[in-house]
Symmetry: C2
Subunit: 796 residues, 2 copies
């Protein structure tokens, strides 16, 4: 069939010399991969292999390594031949030994880590450090030059690859997808990324589906369906598959070289058609199906059981090498089967033939600047906020939709980056629902699918990315940021949990990267979480979950930041900050519904810079001594309820000295030692007092505030209200009532907690109870909030 | 082309009378769907429509409803014709109005909720309650009879459907997949479930991909690729697509009836071939591609913009009905277009023609016992634990791999359910890695793909389910449990975060179900999390995350339970408990590596029943008064370190009165008011004291313990050690050292915290520091732990 280059083709695509050189490179990489897994001495096998040369703990993944080495070798060939700017995403991250081997061979490893030189001494260290305490992880990781993808948790290689290719028209992103990874949901969804790739302004992605047949313990699904079914699947996903299959290395080299050339020729044709001829039809991009045995060239049998070509080759095929002489003998034979003396000179340097396939220095995969995106990063052209800020003559007198105003700011950033094309907005079909639609005045939604007359804002060259897959959105954005660009992910608050595990991995990546001097800072991953827990009027309980904040705050404090701007101008100030920041994961939670304006832009900036502060205008302190009670708040709805409560207290208990504290930057509550944004105890005490009751209205799960503040002197007096999984389809005010976050409940909390007030204010407390009940009854009868809540204006 | 039944076929598959009846049923359902979104009075339109008949807040999703109504109508037809046991999973959960309409029409709604009678009064209440405070959610939800699937968060319909079909050979599970949902990762992965469905012992799944073309604001990907590409995709996924497309209702009815019959005939043939003829070849199961306009039969245009057939029909097509007379007029015309007087009699009862398509009572979709699985649930035949328990003469003298022993228990449960087939083990390719492989002696791994000679344990009829998709595993198990069966999900601890959002939704489902008297309890969703944070020797940082516990404990306390059994016998006792439990989500964290045995089975049972207790044999209390310090632990590795620390203290500071407390059931630490398992303060104080220092070694993020215990009297003296995101590829002992959880650090913590000890025990403290450093140096040099750690035996 067309496009198939299997080993039944006996013709010679490569000349003998080139074939021999490619094979030498591949054997060298295989030798180095095995060496890393097993050896802590005698790296060149200059003496017979002895038990003491073997690492005491054998950790690593051989199974995928020879396939990755094959891909790397052949990428080298086409990169060199075409001077092609290329990045590779290694989905089977467990193939660390392979990628380390290749970057060492091409010299980029030694350039990054001069201590690991490209000679016998360096080879010894390369072997020893692998999966060794104080060394390097067994995965492709931040420590690996040329990598933007760990692959420990599988599923994200292809979306990372597409993210890297966006707005990089000259770049080829090869992406090796293991057949295990191919079973995951995030990977399965990300195939459709090709409906969003602009052949004019974006680069190309070349998926290489590596079917070595097995996962840890099972055959893989895609390796066990008929080839015609797999072809249908790839066609159905918008690809033209090219097959390479076999277990005879020389024949596979021929087939792989031909497949690579076929794929790159086809990509060039697609790009030329779109760029020069203005072709607008979506092309079927090429992809390669590579079928080679798992653990290829490793031991065929161990202890009488088949290993090569089976799941038993997944990790360490010979596990008893130190104690079992037969295993030791097999290992030595295996290593010598690559003929190391032909590959390395006496000093351990790769011989010329091995290095023949290498492209020029800066084109080598381990040297890609795209994989160290900070090198390419430019500051984002964010306009002055004054143009977008809403006027605030008096707190609480006007309403704005915060995210809609933010949309105007994002529109300008899109305009300012129209030429540079280094900013993208991603989201799962919610940009307009989240009221950011002004952005469509500057750019459309990326779309290469069919269009109809009735469609709006679709644009083959657009930079808003919408697909109903949070995983794909996250993967695109990660890939985009890691290659040195900027972006924003807007998402329904509850459903961002879909990417909990992805953000874990990204935070871990950043935590490690920050400690590597050669990795340059990249733009932060910024979440705008909106359509939040308190305003799911339409969707109810299934759409209510503020726990992403808790999830993120478990992770490395040098990376994570959480902001809860209470109004429009504070959202602008926070957005400006996070879009300029580097190497963080910033979580910004903000409403899309009309929200009272509390602060002018200047006030908002000052407040956000402090992260938490007293809103003097809202309280009733007399300036002398400490307040009777602190009303604290974090989040837009809790802030409104606290201010309403403060107003009720001013009316009903005017002699009470109330302090209102608003927290924008949640990590401020942590001790200074626990987070760079944490407050010293003295600061905390100055805000919250050491001994006065604090009633804290919080956006999310209330116990999070305790988890942050438990070490503070005043913690015993801290009483937190928040969301406690009481929700349904109901009105906004009923939601706060159900969760005891409403203004009346907060006033009752104050009365219950300020010493002496319980008796003195008993009738006020009863009034509050009564009005809560009245609200409840009204809402059940009329289906809407009482006008006094809906039309409430703060008159403090 | 074969299999296409589009409206170009003009032949009459249905007779006139049947066609008219089906259309009447469909129109009635559409009328009722619109009524629910808009009306709070005048349900039968017996008077002209006035603004006061309209709900003040218009909430709901019209767009998907007519398509769901079409599917329901035609399922009724084939169920009746074939007396087919059927369950339907409604992926577009936003189509609540449709499913509510249909269950009301078939009478099952009124049977479940007698107050909502099948007459005008009931219709009025049906309309009013929808998306109304105190009423029902806008989604298909636990409140909806016949449903096992909410669909608020998209992606899980098809895996739920497969879970329901497993081991239900007579059941047909129809599954409507919206084209939005089809873009999600979990849905994309779950198509491959057909490689795991046994045509002999399992029922059938009929996917119905509903391409109405749009999501909230965008065209959907699958609606905008050529039909031939979609066909390739479906073939590639192992299906035979049948197309139904059109916008002329009468023609679509014809096509849909034919498609349903074609699909069910083909399913019957596949099952007959496998069951009677012993055919072993994997069949291409039928699926239906249904293309009808979004918001079909709704307003074609509103305010001059096209609505029907566009994204504008997604929610409420006419939004200004109360204030805009033209919108009101359009709504009335829309409602009257269904000719309600033909559909309902003067008392609001559906006329005979409307009900003609309904199957017998117990076959109606809203009456399916499978959708109220507790009705079908039988107790799991769990054998006596004595056969599996490990002998413990003396604590800490022997080692066992806890999960391996659990595997023996699971093997027997598999044996005991060989005939009943109501127990499944699921996991992402990790059953053997997690050392549960004994189970393969009782049953194999479900597999319908191609097989090779070298494969092991694959079984067309197996009940272990392995696919490298945590999403699919979770979806299968949820579907299986919700339909009244039992199961266990074993997963790497770090990667269970992949299903964070799915478990959220399942917990929410259970929380609501528990409050509905008619929903019967189902078996709990049980997680075995292993390959945990402390023993990722091979994989390192990317595989270290104990935060799933934190995630789950944010959710409804009536549903969530977390257990950390410290050894093999406690794991058995916990497993026995959770497998017998109902309506919970149980998280069990246990190691697979060799672990010291501490408790006999009897002791383990007693300890687990208490959930937390003093291990007197491990401490040095003299029985008089309170201890000087409490060493607490939760988790297998922390328990080992605490017992080692206790031993060091006994040796070095023999006069110190040390109490050792082990916590198995984490929720015990919560106040009684916060969780059903929570302790009263008096119990807590009796265990942990009110004022003595408590050094707590915890498996996960340390602040979780503070979040649970912050209200306790002794909280200020509580010092917690746990995982703080310090990890890499290293030795087991180096991991605890890096995170300050090691025995030496714990002894230092005790010395630092017991009053007066800092001076008296300064030299002991220095010794501990020294030995930690010695360990660190040894590990970096040799790559293994010092023998004294590796071979440590507790001698207390």
């Amino acid at each position: 069939m067309p496009g198939t280059n299997s080993q039944t083709h006996k013709d010679s695509y490569l000349g003998d010399a080139e074939l021999a050189a490619l094979d030498a490179h591949w054997r060298a990489a295989n030798y180095l991969a095995v060496g890393q897994i097993y050896l802590m001495a005698n790296p060149l096998l200059t003496e017979p292999l002895l038990p003491e040369h073997i690492k005491p703990r054998l950790l690593g993944h051989w199974g995928t390594s020879p396939g990755l080495n094959l891909v790397h070798t052949h990428l080298n060939r086409v990169i060199k031949a075409r001077d092609q700017d290329t990045l590779c995403v290694w989905g089977p991250g467990h193939g660390g030994p392979a990628v380390l081997a290749n970057t060492w061979l091409e010299g980029t490893y030694s350039r990054t880590y001069p201590d690991i030189s490209r000679d016998a001494a360096g080879m010894g260290k390369l072997f020893r450090q692998f999966s060794f305490p104080g060394g390097v992880p067994s995965h492709v990781a931040p420590e690996t030059p040329g990598s933007i993808h760990e692959g420990g948790e599988l599923g994200y290689s292809l979306s990372h690859a597409y993210g890297a290719a966006l707005d990089n028209p000259g770049l080829l992103v090869a992406c090796v997808i293991g057949d295990g990874e191919a079973e995951t949901g995030p990977l399965a969804a990300s195939w459709h990324s090709n409906k969003f790739l602009d052949p004019v302004n974006d680069g190309a992605v070349l998926p290489i589906l590596h079917l070595n047949g097995y996962k840890i313990a099972n055959p893989s699904v895609l390796a066990r369906i008929p080839e015609s079914e797999l072809d249908d699947l790839m066609h159905g996903l918008g690809h033209e598959p090219i097959h390479v299959a076999g277990d005879d290395p020389l024949l596979v080299h021929q087939a792989m070289a031909r497949a690579m050339d076929t794929a790159l020729d086809r990509i060039a044709l697609i790009q030329r058609t779109a760029r020069e001829d203005g072709g607008a039809e979506r092309a079927h991009w090429p992809m390669i199906v590579l079928r080679t045995p798992k653990g290829w060239t490793g031991p065929a049998e161990v202890d009488g059981l088949p290993v090569e070509g089976t799941w038993r080759a997944h990790q360490v095929p010979l596990s008893g090498v130190r104690d079992n002489p037969e295993h030791l003998r097999q290992l030595e034979a295996w290593l010598r089967s690559y003929r190391p003396a032909e590959l390395f000179d006496e000093d351990g340097r790769p011989r010329d033939q091995v290095l023949e396939c290498l492209p020029d220095d800066e084109r080598r995969l381990g040297a890609s600047a795209h994989a160290n995106g900070g090198l390419l990063l430019r500051d984002l052209p964010i306009p002055a906020l004054e143009r977008y800020a809403v006027p605030v003559d008096k707190p609480g007198a006007t309403l704005h939709e915060p995210t809609r105003v933010l949309g105007d700011l994002v529109e300008t950033i899109m305009e300012n980056t129209a030429e540079r094309r280094d900013f993208r907005l991603v989201g799962p079909d919610e940009t307009a629902s989240n009221r950011l639609q002004s952005v469509y005045r500057a750019t459309g939604k990326a779309w290469q699918g069919e269009t109809l007359e009735v469609d709006e804002d679709l644009d083959r060259h657009g930079r808003v990315m919408e697909i109903l897959s949070e995983h794909t959105c996250q993967g695109w954005l990660e890939g985009y940021l890691l290659t040195g660009r900027h972006g924003l992910f807007s998402c329904y608050e509850a459903f961002v949990h879909i990417v909990d595990s992805m953000v874990n991995q990204h935070i871990k990546w950043l935590r490690v990267s920050r400690r590597l001097p050669w990795r340059r800072p990249i733009a932060s991953l910024n979440y705008l979480l909106t359509s939040h827990v308190w305003r799911q009027d339409n969707n109810g309980f299934s759409h209510q979950d503020p726990g992403f904040i808790d999830h993120v705050l478990n992770k490395s404090p040098e990376v994570v930041r959480v902001y809860l701007p209470p109004d429009t101008n504070t959202l602008l100030a926070v957005a400006d900050h996070v879009l300029r920041s580097r190497d963080y994961v910033n979580v910004v939670v903000a409403g899309k519904q009309p929200c009272f304006d509390w602060l002018t832009l200047d006030q908002a900036r000052a407040h956000c810079a402090r992260g938490a502060g007293v809103w003097q205008w809202a309280g009733t302190e007399d300036g002398a001594g400490e307040p009777d009670v602190v009303l604290a708040c974090a989040g837009d709805v809790p802030t409104m309820e606290v201010l309403a409560a403060a107003q009720l207290l001013r009316t009903h208990l005017p002699e009470l000295r109330v302090r209102v504290v608003n927290v924008v930057d949640l990590a401020r509550l942590l001790p200074k030692e626990e987070h760079p944004h944490g407050m010293h105890d003295a600061e905390y005490d100055a805000l919250f007092t050491r001994d006065r009751p604090v009633v804290f209205a919080y956006h999310g799960y209330p116990w999070l505030i305790h988890r942050l503040a438990y070490r503070r002197a005043g913690h015993a007096n801290l009483h937190v209200r928040g969301y406690k999984e009481e929700g349904t389809t109901t009105t906004p005010f009923d939601m706060v009532v159900r969760n005891d976050l409403d203004r009346y409940r907060l006033v009752m909390d104050v009365i219950d907690r300020v010493p002496g007030l319980a008796v003195r204010a008993a009738s006020v407390r009863q009034d509050m109870e009564d009005v809560r009940l009245r609200h409840h009854g009204w809402i059940r009868e009329h289906g809407v909030d009482l006008p006094e809540v809906a039309d409430w204006t703060w008159t403090g």
